[in-house]
């Protein structure tokens, strides 16, 4: 009996060692960031690392909000507005199209759906350059409308929502219509609430994607007043090469909001991603 118990304990110990190791590898860069952000430019350069700053200072944060040339606060508001607007456009258009594919099929709709799926395979690289030129022709460069509009094309969202809507029985929707509800009412008041978990998953994926996106805003928005948080942080990286505490303060402020959103909604995203299995 004894050796068996011993072996089990040993295995358990090994398991917890692995857990702690993996968690530490994941978290240490964040702690390093957090710790550096509360130090001065001298104090960040110590060997060994002082995890708790000797003289904690907000200098990094103050400098982030007083950068010459561009405003971090303004960029945060820009990012928030853009993320919300992009999410709205992307989710609404995807849900509406998914409704047609799931509940109002027409001749050739399955072929059209196949075309949607095929567009998911085209790398963003190929469409990036012409999309820029299309916005240029439309006169929408350096505008939020131009930045948001391509979000209308979201094959993944359509796919995700269609799979959910197809599981809702037609009879629910039809009986509501017999009671006199319009099709639009049925869509918003009956169908969407019935696919709420998938809907919120898509909302979160869209919001996180929009908040974190870098390349597209970098290309489209040129005036500094319109730039997003990610672009500003990217610019800071080359300007503050030797003031890492300022950079780390900027990184903390960029990560915190999305981390908050994630933690508040955690269960829903996780299950949804496992379900979707795609970025």
């Amino acid at each position: 009996m004894m050796p068996k118990l011993r072996a089990k304990q040993l295995r358990n110990a090994a398991f917890y060692v692995m857990v702690v190791l993996m968690a530490a590898l994941t978290l240490l860069p964040f702690l390093f960031m957090l710790s550096s952000s509360f130090k001065g430019s001298e104090a960040i350069r110590t060997i060994p690392i002082r995890w708790i700053p000797e003289r904690p200072t907000l200098e990094g944060y103050i400098r982030v909000f007083n950068m010459p040339g561009f405003s971090f606060g303004r960029a945060s508001l820009n990012s928030l507005f853009l993320a919300l607007a992009t999410t709205l456009v992307q989710v609404l258009s995807a849900c509406m199209a998914a409704f047609v594919f799931a509940k109002l099929p027409f001749r050739g709709s399955d072929k059209l759906f196949g075309l949607y799926l095929a567009t998911m395979m085209i790398p963003g690289t190929v469409t990036m350059v012409p999309n820029y030129i299309i916005l240029r022709i439309m006169g929408l460069l350096d505008s939020y409308t131009g930045l948001i509009l391509p979000a209308l094309a979201n094959a993944f969202g359509v796919f995700l929502m269609r799979q959910a809507m197809i599981t809702v029985p037609d009879s629910y929707l039809e009986s509501a219509m017999l009671d006199g509800a319009s099709l639009y009412r049925v869509f918003f008041v009956i169908l969407l609430p019935m696919v709420a978990p998938t809907f919120f998953t898509l909302v979160l994926l869209a919001f996180m994607g929009a908040w974190n996106s870098y390349l597209w805003p970098l290309i489209v928005l040129t005036s500094t007043g319109k730039q997003t948080l990610q672009v500003v942080l990217g610019n800071m990286n080359s300007m503050y090469r030797n003031n890492e505490h300022v950079l780390m303060a900027g990184a903390v402020l960029t990560i915190l909001p999305i981390l908050l959103v994630y933690v508040l909604s955690q269960c829903r995203v996780d299950s949804g991603i496992a379900l979707g299995g795609l970025k």
């Binding site: 295995r11 398991f15 692995m18 857990v19 993996m22 994941t26 978290l27 240490l28 860069p29 390093f32 960040i44 350069r45 060997i47 060994p48 690392i49 258009s93 509406m96 199209a97 047609v100 509940k103 109002l104 027409f106 075309l115 949607y116 567009t119 085209i122 790398p123 690289t125 190929v126 469409t127 990036m128 350059v129 012409p130 999309n131 820029y132 299309i134 240029r136 509009l149 209308l152 094309a153 094959a155 037609d170 929707l173 099709l183 974190n212 870098y214 390349l215 942080l233 990217g234 990286n237 890492e244 950079l247 780390m248 990184a251 960029t254 990560i255 999305i258 991603i273 299995g277 795609l278």
Partner: protein, 295 residues
């Protein structure tokens, strides 16, 4: 779904489909056609000139000195990233597959790098990888290893980017592996246990073979994304030092938006697309050799 009025149905279909369909047509299908057209042109956006070149863009790229370098760097990234990401996400998923106190917290912890933006991750890791005072080299020195000045070294810049990418992406792919682990029938393990199989035997004879479809998916997805590595490179090294980390998307970005050579950029992205397509097709060819589909 049945609608009594055919007219209502037609109108509703049009209204509901329009935003998405216009979006796909204007920002997805039209760009593909345009990009194809531009790839045969000498299109200077600043000068506004467009001249037909035929296949000269492609010839210039494929015969230039830059292309083999770019291909080599991208494949180096992929070659380092792929085994590491598979191993790490498998490891993380195995840890999360056991029930223990604090598992929910651990899941959140593992997922934090995923929700962090690439810009923030790259900014943080530039500091983590800095030569003297960075976390990485201070940690290595605990084991008596003198770490390189990662991002300013021609040799170590790419591994530095790879480590960052693995740190950032593991939590995401671990969830996919975890979902696959959960779908394995526990009866298989019980039966193997009765037959006297140990932990290692169970892992290699049951878990791993049944995971191969998911691992295959992971390889396919990661090759597609890996060949398009960009944000990390642009922020951490900008293709340097001395061009040691130039990759496809970084080149395309610079041709298009630093030099405004839209034709060259388009041709480059089609070459990349063909490389991605070739890799993907090749993997589907090879999958019979290692992927197990009989559950």
């Amino acid at each position: 779904m049945y609608l009594p009025n055919a007219n209502t149905r037609r109108t509703a279909t049009a209204v509901f489909l329009a935003p998405s369909l216009i979006g796909v047509a204007v920002f997805c299908l039209l760009p593909i056609a345009m990009s194809f057209y531009y790839s045969f042109m000498d299109y200077d956006l600043l000068a506004g000139s467009m001249d037909f070149l035929g296949l000269k863009n492609f010839a210039r790229i494929l015969t230039g000195r830059e292309f083999p370098q770019v291909l080599l760097h991208t494949l180096t990234y992929l070659g380092l990233y792929l085994p590491l990401i598979l191993l790490c996400s498998l490891g993380q998923a195995l840890l999360l597959n056991r029930s223990f106190r604090g598992r929910a917290v651990l899941r959140t912890v593992f997922y934090t790098p995923v929700i962090t933006s690439w810009v923030a991750a790259a900014v943080v890791w530039t500091w983590v990888l800095s030569g003297h005072y960075g976390l990485m080299n201070q940690a290595l020195s605990l084991f008596g290893i003198k770490g390189p000045a990662w991002l300013s070294s021609r040799v170590w810049a790419m591994p530095g980017i790879v480590i960052t990418a693995v740190w950032k992406d593991t939590g995401y792919y671990a969830l996919m592996v975890l979902a696959a682990l959960k779908s394995i029938d526990p009866a298989l393990y019980e039966a193997a246990g009765i037959d006297g199989a140990g932990g290692a035997r169970k892992f290699f004879s049951i878990t791993l073979p049944l995971l191969t479809p998911t691992l295959f998916l992971l390889v396919v997805i990661n090759v597609i994304y890996g060949l398009q590595v960009f944000d990390s490179v642009l922020i951490m090294t900008d293709g340097g030092p001395g061009g040691a980390t130039t990759v496809f998307l970084e080149r395309i970005y610079k041709y298009a938006f630093r030099q405004y050579k839209m034709g060259m950029a388009s041709a480059y992205s089609w070459i990349l697309f063909i490389i991605i397509l070739a890799f993907t097709l090749l993997q589907f060819r090879l999958q019979k050799r290692w992927v197990n589909y009989d559950a």
